[in-house]
Assembly symmetry: D2
Homo-oligomer: 282 residues x 4
């Protein structure tokens, strides 16, 4: 089992030395260390992974130790252990490709978490969820019942011990309250290269503008739609021959990959949010 | 010598048959034919290249023949011969990388035209132009003398028999009159993946937004800045480690390549403008 | 319904004119025309698509007409109609990702053919085939029964009216007789950027050599393993951090996409074989 | 001024803690730390950058301190300071694009070293070197005078205090003695995606094989040609339409970029050689 520590704090000397020394003195072997100093904001970010095999502190002991550095350095920290995988809920609507892709990757062991729940506002994805043996719940959303539907969803997330929500082409907008409450734990896939073509029907917008590349963007959901911190993006070449339906088809491949990469990075605790941006320790 | 014919017209049957038959009957060998029907606009576009080696009509004869089809099919056409290369003027300001790149490619024989004039609002690029043996003219532009400077530039273009103007990081905005007069013959390079980060300081915008890819876009200049028909785009991956100066450095490579590809495509008569978009027969 | 004609013949003038005229005279509307002259081999290749909506010849009439040009021009031709989709058999072994991917794309309507049979030397993929409603047949292959197994497979292909065999990470080598008999109709995916790392365990070879990109290659199967005409290739960036298992994971994404693109191109009749190479009219 | 330390040694716990503590105790601020443990070879690699601004040891003091850890940990280390930039010699033959590109990047301040010498077996590049103000020396190489020519070159390198030799499409093979003596300090650009198309005329090989991507590879020169540790690679898409001359043109862009990136990485001390492979701390 490995410990994964993510910290951020005001930049100052001695943090790396202090924390790597802390790990060393208690018998830990550092497996991975990545850090970043943001010169603009004068902030320090670090991800530190060490083996707990011969570590002389248990989880509580680690937390206690970190608390000391927190007071001294003004450290904000998050600790996790890779034997405790996040439980993931996937929200989807009618288009199944992102859902299916995540379920397949889960079966192939590619994700560092477990999809344990599929939530949808439609029945369409039920057979896929069933095939992969994942519980499927429909929470129909209408203009009138949105608050009630979200209350139901939040209860589902709590009941299933969910740690990450993935919006896999989920065609409903979450309320600011939902997003706020799950801040940094809801990943959305937008089918354009943000900030280009934010909003509805990005492939139609792309066709109309005559771009030569189309993109997809995975980002944390925030109150401002399509404005959340970007985790991953990619593009694919298109030509004048590609009609909107071709853009949609080519885009599907992008969406699947970009979303899967973002989810994997998050589940491996490789992403730190830095205001409107992310630090991704790849 | 080869003839290059570009046509566009309302879509209808028989155009390919008619034009390929016209070429065949007069002894031409078709070397390349590319066509596109735009289902939305019901428009037809074609690029046809044939060898004039044993052709039984001269240039005027070809034009006469095309005029017949123009009346019958509502054909708009443009004819050129690849022994007449476009004379190109490059406009630049202080940043030299795009200018250098074009001059080097010209020397390597990569362009299908000839850079015969460099125009700038600064002295900086004079040695580079001199090294490559291309005339260099400074037309200083201030808030007050813009009309006069443009008049001078237009005269220069006329005097040098220019067919294409390339804005190689030229930091002045051409007047609507200039752009209108040279419509479809002025290529600009914008240092972002348009329509993302239009306007000033796109690399700063990209850094602030935290995108994971930056881009460059070559497009025809139009009255609406950064809104012209896109000829070519490309992107490169960046991370949180890349400061604005790194984006600028990485972007330079993109700008050079994207601009050079667009210029080459234009000079080979591979680009047709279709409203706000382009057809690029690659 | 559209007709798709592919021709190749010695290069000479008049072929495009003759065939486009043939289509026009019988009421066809050309939707797509792409051609290529190979200057080395002095060969001509063309793909011509026209609408049969108001065509005044039926399929037999078209064939008769083409036969005339065949004699005159030395034309080799292949005619198909897009209302008759190829029936596809997918061969797989234990690794399911390419099979799943093809089945999903089929459901999404991305392929221009129909996967109607899955053949494997193992039981593993049975549930996946069942979920997608495609017949699944196990033909166990051992050192001793190979000829018998292939006879069985050939019978299956005949019985199901198969037009294309896709080797989706099928870990058996087809006999020269099989490959010869199905020449140009068996697509294999190799998990490297051929010709680099031909043969077994390419990801291990890539790791040992320390390459910075890994690739995948879809090609027609030929007697010489990994030497068949390449239809499509792509690569993805890797670093020293990527262990062999990471290369395998990253490679899976490549394999799926490259194979799917190649299969789609083949089924749309966009691929012509030119000796050891392919012409792909994309 | 910053110190850049690169170390490698057998993998064991405590190295990061010890070295970061060493930096901290003497007043250094760690700016960048990147490390890698090779699970196969059980080797540890690290690159550590710290600010010398308030450091309480001078260069000799640092060396003394490192020597202690070297004995204790079996550490192999290399120390440099970024105020001492490598002096670079570029070797070229007739094709100027890589040379020109490096000189331009130097002028733009992109390289973290200084090109101070151009060596060639031909006169062709003299004007380019002159334009950029870099000394140019011709050392003609024939079958008979190779040893003498290399002796001359080695003397030039010594005389100019060269730290890195860049073979920018230099069409002579360096002797094993030269390569051995300058091991890890000679970067070559090969115009293919190695290990595909090693040897002569890779673009011709690529055309013959019908690949859909061509590549370029920058690697350290070793006695076995085209077998040296790879620093950087990239590819670009090609089609059946691209004749060998098109591959050469497209390849030029690749070669320039791949070589420039490799040179920059080397000069920033981001590359460590690990047997036949490299660790690149990007």
């Amino acid at each position: 089992m490995n410990a994964i520590l993510r910290v951020h704090c005001p930049d100052r000397t001695g943090i790396i030395a202090a924390l790597s020394d802390f790990v060393f003195r208690h018998g830990g072997n550092i497996l991975d260390l990545d850090q970043h100093s943001d010169p603009d904001g004068n902030r320090f970010f670090m991800r530190l992974v060490w083996s707990m095999e011969r570590f002389t502190l248990d989880a509580d002991g680690v937390r206690l130790g970190l608390e000391v550095y927190a007071r001294s350095f003004g450290l904000a920290w998050e600790l996790s252990f890779d034997d405790r995988r996040d439980r993931v809920a996937v929200f989807c609507s009618k288009e199944p490709h992102c859902l299916y892709d995540l379920l397949l990757r889960q079966r192939l062991g590619e994700l560092a978490g477990d999809v344990v729940l599929v939530v949808s506002n439609h029945e369409d994805a039920r057979p896929a969820a069933a095939y992969f043996g994942v519980p499927f719940v429909v929470t129909p959303v209408t203009r009138d019942n949105k608050a009630k539907a979200e209350a139901e969803q939040l209860e589902l997330l709590a009941g299933h011990g969910i740690g990450l929500v993935v919006l896999a082409r989920y065609m409903q907008i979450l309320s600011p309250e939902f997003v706020e409450r799950w801040s940094g734990r809801v990943i959305n896939i937008h089918h354009s290269f943000l900030p280009a073509f934010a909003g509805a029907r990005p492939y139609h917008q792309a066709k109309a503008r005559g771009v030569k590349l189309i993109g997809a963007t995975a980002h944390y959901a925030t109150e401002d739609l399509d404005e959340g911190p970007i985790i991953e993006q990619d593009v694919v070449r298109v030509t004048h021959r590609d009609e909107v339906e071709d853009l949609i088809r080519k885009g599907r491949d992008l969406e699947r990959q970009v979303l899967a990469r973002a989810v994997r990075l998050h589940l491996q605790r490789r992403v730190l949010v830095d205001g409107r941006r992310t630090i991704v320790f790849g």
